[in-house]
């Protein structure tokens, strides 16, 4: 038995140790790894009616992946431009949402982390409580705010600032606001956690040595907060790219999110293998992108856990 396992059992006792270990293994293998492997398996199979499953036609194929790139066989175009465009647009939009969220949340996290007093707790509670409301209701609330006859348009046309209502939904502003708002906490809290442990004296030392505020952030606070920033960005990016409710409710008629395509394949087209292939492509691309970014910004995997 490796020493870390031995120590683990010594600390928790055999019974408790086995229970914890069993639950963790069930969680990771049973609920995450096996279903994903099954999805991977699906993605390489043709979409067959039930009687033919396991029959001679049920062989591994790259059809589903080819479909994403080239479209239907004999189609009018060389490439599946519609789906590919949605795919890349989703990634770019997720990056934008992440950057927007970072810009918005860093000052909040810094303020929370460096101030003292009970108002900080009240502030944090006020951030958390809206998340008791479920995601769909929150998205619809934003629809009410951004809709053609919604709060904003009524207000601005009433004040005479705009002549005609502005279509926030068609212009995707509602979608970005909804996605940004949905994951604000996942950005704020990792950064807050790190900044809270930053010694105030370091900020004062930098100031004392003549640094203006922006340089204090650039050279002292942000490098220190990097683990929190990368952790927050990773989560927000992954979840935005994989979001479904917000695009469904807040997206304009023309703007499909890649997850909506996956959803259509599974539910509307009843084509699980095709949906699985799309999902696998999205997952793998996101992971590779995050790894590349971590490399670029010199972040270790261990930092993400902070």
């Amino acid at each position: 038995m490796p020493s870390f396992l031995k120590e683990f059992f010594n600390r928790n006792g055999t019974g408790m140790g086995l229970t914890i270990l069993g639950l963790v293994l069930f969680w990771t293998i049973g609920l995450i790894i096996l279903p994903q492997l099954s999805m991977l398996d699906f993605s390489f199979r043709p979409n067959l009616p039930p009687p033919e499953i396991g029959g001679p036609k049920d062989v591994y194929t790259l059809e589903n992946y080819k479909y994403l790139i080239y479209g239907p066989e004999g189609g009018s175009q060389d490439y599946n431009t519609v789906d590919l465009r949605v795919f890349f647009r989703t990634l770019v939009a997720a990056v934008c949402v992440t950057i927007f969220n970072l810009i918005l949340c860093y000052p909040i996290a810094y303020y929370l982390g460096q101030s003292k007093g009970s108002h900080i707790r009240i502030f944090a509670i006020m951030l958390i409580i809206p998340y008791w409301i479920n995601e769909i209701l929150r998205a619809f609330a934003l629809r009410i705010i951004f809709g053609e006859t919604g709060v904003l348009n009524t207000l601005f046309t009433g004040l005479g600032i705009w002549d005609t209502p502005f279509d926030f939904i068609r212009n995707d502003i509602a979608l970005y606001a909804g996605l940004g708002y949905a994951y604000i906490l996942l950005m704020i809290f990792p950064i807050y956690n790190v900044i809270e442990s930053l010694d105030r004296n370091q900020i004062e030392a930098a100031r004392d040595l003549g640094a203006p505020w922006w340089r204090i952030h650039w050279r002292v606070v942000i490098p220190y907060a990097k683990p929190g920033i990368s952790s927050g960005c990773t989560m927000v990016f992954m979840l935005s790219a994989g979001a479904l409710a917000a695009p469904q409710i807040l997206g304009g008629p023309s703007s499909l999110w890649f997850t909506q395509l996956i959803y259509q394949q599974f539910n509307d087209n009843n084509d699980w293998p095709q949906g699985a292939a799309y999902a696998v492509v999205l997952l793998v691309t996101c992971i590779l992108f995050v790894l590349a970014m971590m490399r670029l910004f010199k972040v270790n995997m261990g930092d993400i856990g902070k």
Binding site: Q202, E204, A205, A206, D208, L209, G210, R219
Partner: protein, 370 residues
Amino acid sequence: MSAGIGVDLENLWIRFGDFVAVRDANVHINGGDFFSFLGPSGCGKTTILRAVSGFLEPSEGNVLIGGKNMKGIGPNKRPTALIFQNLALFPLMKVWENITFSMEIKGASAAERRKRADELLDMIALPGQGDKLPSELSGGQRQRVAIARALCAKPDVLLLDEPLSALDLKLRQHMRTELREIQQRVGITFIYITHDQGEALTMSDNIAVMRAGVIDQIADGKTIYNDPATAFAASFVGENNVFRGKAKRVMGDEALIATNRSGELVARISTANRGKLAEGDDAMMFIRPEAFSVAPEGASGDHFVTARVTHEEFEGNVFNIFTEGDGGKEIKVSIPNHGQSFKDHTGQNITLEYDTRNAVVVPAGELAAE
């Protein structure tokens, strides 16, 4: 040594809500001085330092640096550099980047900064350590890096907030000498905050003794030790034996004190209180342990104290005798060890003698907590 830039505090008051942290401080610090604020924790000395560095605006009064009023000037614009109690080195920057951070702000090139860092690293006796991270250095080395970082900003006044308190005793004593040397070499004003009277006495040109927001005395170390202005200064700086009583008679610069337990004794009135101490006033008399000697049996008079010995101890360089004293406190007597034989007096009465010039009278006042 250059004349240097001095610092003045004029009628300085600092309040936090109802709490008065600093009460009407008036201090003149000569340019090029090593000046210490000495006092127990919570006496307001760090508050004064923060007011000089600009992190805190005084409630009333002025801070002048080089004669220039610093009101409304932020810490990044003042000619001061602060060394924090916990040093506050930037953990993610290399040592040389830490040291030259102030040059980076001014836009100096990397080569220029590197060169300056190497010069300063030589000065603090850490050559070639520039590429390490602060966490790879020992406590004393980090201490020196913090000094170099502050000096690199070419301040006119260096402010030090108990920077030695995290070090072990040996290193602390070594760093005292080193700090003093650095100060004399660079010739700028050092303002040093400490609760350690040993640090204050060994390094400072002048010392301000502080108690509960009030400055009790400003003088050089010898004066504060030999001629304290208040009971607090007498009891906080160095070891001292207190005798409470009333001034029975004032005779020029000496007074006859009717002590509560030890009869009538004569002592010198401290310089600051001459002409102020009146007959009948409550007074305190202080005699240092080393100012006593053992008198022949039967001797008596106005500079002899008789008391019962409770215990004795041998400390190596001195032999300590403890006798019953005033208000439950023991009188400590330290006899230097010249290799003579010591007789054990425990349980016996002993007569102690002192020179009236070495006993000091101040008005009765608050004593320093043990």
